[in-house]
């Protein structure tokens, strides 16, 4: 470290910075990260919201651990909430009530924790939708998509383990359903359930175990995955919308230091402020309403938090019996009859399939398009009709399950019969995704055609002109170059028929790929080419010469 030009700090800050830098080499890191460029678009900020709500969760959760005792030992309530006085309950529920009523600021912190948990999973979901619909998961970012999907699963796990901790009636009902799902797993289910609960449900161990998962293991895994996720963002660089000067080789935007550091820091406090305001004015999970957990009652309006709702919905939609056909299958074994509860297993398989589809989609798309190039420019959703349609089908499917979880509230609030709600949602379970796929694809293709029209013939100006003969025409204006770039600079994959391998065979999977490719891309809308544009313009110019005073519009 002996060079000719040794830095001589003149200020106090400079001396401290130099001290640190000489021992850590931090200036190199600051130089690298501080000059990292991020593009600016509102839809890129949901990942940030997720990160910030996670930080809020860590802060508020730490506060809660100071007062919460995850013990299932029996006690009698003697706190200040009158309607529960003298009621027998677990220590866990007692301390949760104490946090709500007897710890200064405790109820607020509980509500901050719970609201930010809901917002955390919601922002993770919206972030994933943004990444999916813009194609940001494509090479080289497939692995980061997997990390992100893992984060979603971990977020749901964190949420569910937390939901179960207060040991109130609502959380106990939720745990009982999970216990039922676990027990439905063939052969090993009952053993897993017994190991998890330390014997028969509910036992006296589960809250302590969930507490360990909730405050240690799951958050640690989330932190690890967040670190990997952000590291990969730095390695891959951020994606950007296409625009003049934006290519696959560059990133146009602002550096972290000072612009984004300031913006992101400010945004953290905005998110914190929004969560705090919501927590101050709106109650969440009023555990005192539900009472202590008791395995016998199940209250109306018992639902999981929204991110587990789709699982609850799947269970609600699945019939236990269709006419004479029962979904409780009794399998005769030499040692006696075993029950296979298909009414629980089938929904569980559906959920795993949907999650699995999310994980592998980048490879599915890569397989269909045979596209092995790197993509750093984002697709507008309309410019990838096939992907948008698949995404919308998935969203519709999810929303049907979601709605099914609130079927009772739909029935009471819209004054319809609960049974009819269930029948409709069962039909939509199958038809909804198909309709969603078709409609979304048609809308995307129509929007692409509209874009083509605007590029070639200009924008409808809203000015109606009457010719001397009495004919009415609407004047069209040419859109500006920036807009033109946005409307023309995109890729539109073409049908790639099945191809023979080196030995000259067309394999069965290749045939399948070919037909999927045809299904997806056969009615594609091609982007306007330069020659098409020039031809349209020259035609337009020619038209102008003929006597219209369109000249001003052309400029």
């Amino acid at each position: 470290m002996t060079t000719d030009t040794v830095y001589q700090p003149k200020t106090k800050t400079g001396r401290i910075a130099d001290f640190v830098d000489q021992r850590t080499g931090a200036s190199g890191m600051v130089k690298e990260f501080g000059r990292k460029i991020f593009p600016d678009h509102w839809s890129f900020m949901f990942g940030e919201v997720a990160l910030y709500t996670f930080v809020i969760l860590l802060i508020s959760g730490t506060f809660l651990t100071l007062f919460f005792d995850p013990s299932m030992a029996h006690t009698t309530y003697d706190g200040s909430y009158n309607p529960l006085k003298g009621i027998g309950m677990s220590v866990a529920y007692h301390t949760s009530l104490d946090i709500s009523f007897d710890v200064r600021g405790g109820l607020f912190m509980r509500q901050v924790h719970h609201w930010s948990a809901l917002l955390f999973v919601a922002s993770v979901s919206v972030h994933m939708l943004r990444v999916f619909f813009t194609g940001a998961f494509r090479k080289p970012r497939e692995l980061n998509w997997v990390v992100g999907s893992t984060l979603l699963v971990l977020a749901m796990a964190a949420g569910f383990t937390g939901y179960s901790l207060p040991d109130d009636l609502l959380s106990g009902n939720g745990l009982r359903i999970i216990d039922g799902i676990i027990k439905a797993i063939p052969v090993v289910g009952t053993y897993i359930s017994a190991f998890l609960f330390g014997g028969e449900f509910p036992g006296t161990a589960i809250i302590g175990r969930l507490y360990m998962l909730h405050i240690m293991l799951v958050p640690a895994l989330i932190l690890l995955m967040v670190a990997v996720h952000l590291f990969m963002v730095v390695v891959h660089k951020h994606t950007q919308w296409s625009g003049p000067g934006r290519t696959e080789e560059n990133v146009v935007g602002f550096p972290v230091g000072p612009v984004y550091a300031a913006k992101a820091g400010g945004f953290f406090f905005i998110v914190f402020g929004v969560v705090a305001a919501i927590s101050a004015f709106f109650t969440i999970n009023p555990i005192w309403n539900y009472g202590p957990y008791d395995p016998s009652p199940v209250s109306a309006g018992t639902q999981p938090d929204w991110y587990i709702g789709w699982a609850d919905g799947a269970l609600r939609l699945m019939p236990g019996q269709l006419w004479d056909f029962s979904f409780d299958w009794i399998i005769p074994f030499p040692w006696g009859d075993n029950l296979l509860a298909m009414g629980v297993l089938v929904p569980a398989v559906v959920l795993v399939a949907l999650l699995g589809g999310m994980f592998v989609w980048p490879w599915v798309e890569r397989w269909i398009t045979k596209d092995d190039r790197e993509h750093h420019l984002l697709d507008r959703p309309r410019n990838a009709p096939f992907r948008t349609a698949v995404g919308v089908a998935g969203v519709v499917f999810y929303c049907v399950l979601w709605a099914a979880a609130s079927s009772d509230l739909i029935a009471t609030h819209f004054h319809v019969a609960l049974n009819d709600v269930t029948y409709w949602l069962r039909a939509l379970f199958f038809l909804g995704p198909i309709l969603g796929f078709i409609i979304a694809r048609r809308i995307a293709l129509a929007l692409q055609r509209k874009d083509r029209d605007i590029v070639l013939h200009g924008r409808e100006a809203g000015i109606i002109e009457m010719s001397p003969e009495g004919a009415f025409t609407e004047r069209h204006e040419q859109v500006d170059e920036y807009k033109l770039y946005k409307l023309t600079a995109f890729e539109s994959p073409e049908v790639l028929p099945a191809q023979a391998d080196r030995a000259g065979h067309v394999t069965r999977s290749e045939k399948l790929r070919g037909s999927v490719s045809k299904f997806f891309f056969e009615d594609r809308v091609a982007p306007v080419t330069k020659s098409e544009l020039e031809e349209a313009r020259s035609h337009h110019g020619h038209h102008a010469v003929e006597g219209h005073d369109d000249k001003e519009l052309e400029q």
């Binding site: 890129f44 919201v49 309607p83 529960l84 009636l169 602002f254 929004v274 539900y290 979880a405 019969a417």
Partner: protein, 262 residues
């Protein structure tokens, strides 16, 4: 004793034993269930009954029959008791606005005196549950903690833990209990209106009913300690709120932030 033990293998011994068992059970049941047959016709005067009869003929007889014997359109009212009339008419459910899965609440059609007269008339037709006495409606004597426990075990599965109401099958529903009068809550438990089961006095004693009412009135009066309660509907309304208002505000801020020139 010896005679008895000798006769125990007599062919009719089993029959005699069965008969005895039935008599004892039946007798006990009659004794127990007569607890529920409050019989308070005495409180009403003859003129109440007479006026009630007139009101009944004018407003109820179309469906319930000229002598309240019931028709295809409405059930018999003989033996339903004054409590039933006081509840159904006093909450506006009767006269019914339209046939449907269940009678809906609407503005009350009669004044208190008329409701009392109708109750008197129906009570005069046969013994049934009476309008509860004031001591069982006095929430200052009740225990809300115990009432809450009874409510969660017996009522919350339909009415929701916070008494916000819930759905039943085929368009039926358990209504929200917010703002329902003490008297009507008590009567509903006794008579089991619409699709509600009867919680008679051997099931939930009058004192316990008072505890339930105390609990309901207390959670109603205390409001929501944590802020706006979003309908007390549980996680669904919370999720809806975070996806609409919560994310909406956040998105507004993201757009604002990225629209600023840095």
């Amino acid at each position: 004793m010896k005679a008895l033990s000798q006769k125990r293998r007599h062919p009719l011994a089993a029959v005699a034993l069965l008969l005895m068992g039935l008599l004892v059970t039946g007798g006990l049941y009659a004794a127990a269930s007569s607890v529920n047959e409050a019989q308070a016709a005495s409180a009403y005067s003859a003129s109440d009954v007479e006026e009630g009869n007139k009101l009944f003929l004018a407003n109820c007889a179309t469906c319930h029959g000229m002598n309240a014997e019931g028709t295809d359109a409405g059930p018999s009212l003989i033996g339903v008791g004054a409590a039933s009339v006081d509840f159904q008419v006093g909450t506006g459910r009767m006269p019914m606005q339209m046939q449907g899965p269940q009678a809906q609440v609407k503005p009350v059609q009669f004044d208190d005196e008329q409701v009392q007269q109708l109750s008197a008339y129906v009570a005069s037709l046969g013994a049934g549950p009476a309008v509860p006495e004031a001591e069982y409606l006095d929430t200052s004597l009740g225990n809300s903690g115990q009432g809450g426990e009874i409510f969660r075990v017996n009522c919350a599965m339909c009415h929701n833990a916070a008494a916000a109401g819930g759905a039943l099958t085929r368009g039926k529903f358990a209504p929200s209990l917010e703002g329902v009068e003490e008297k009507h809550i008590y009567e509903a438990m006794v008579i089991g209106p619409q699709n509600m089961p009867v919680f008679n006095d051997s099931n939930i004693s009058p004192e316990d009913k008072r505890d339930v009412i105390t609990f309901l009135k207390e959670i109603e009066a205390q409001g929501s300690p944590g802020g706006a309660k979003l309908g007390s509907l549980g996680p669904v309304s919370e999720g809806l709120f975070v996806w609409t208002a919560g994310l909406g505000i956040i998105i507004a801020f993201t757009i604002w932030l990225t629209s600023r020139p840095s």
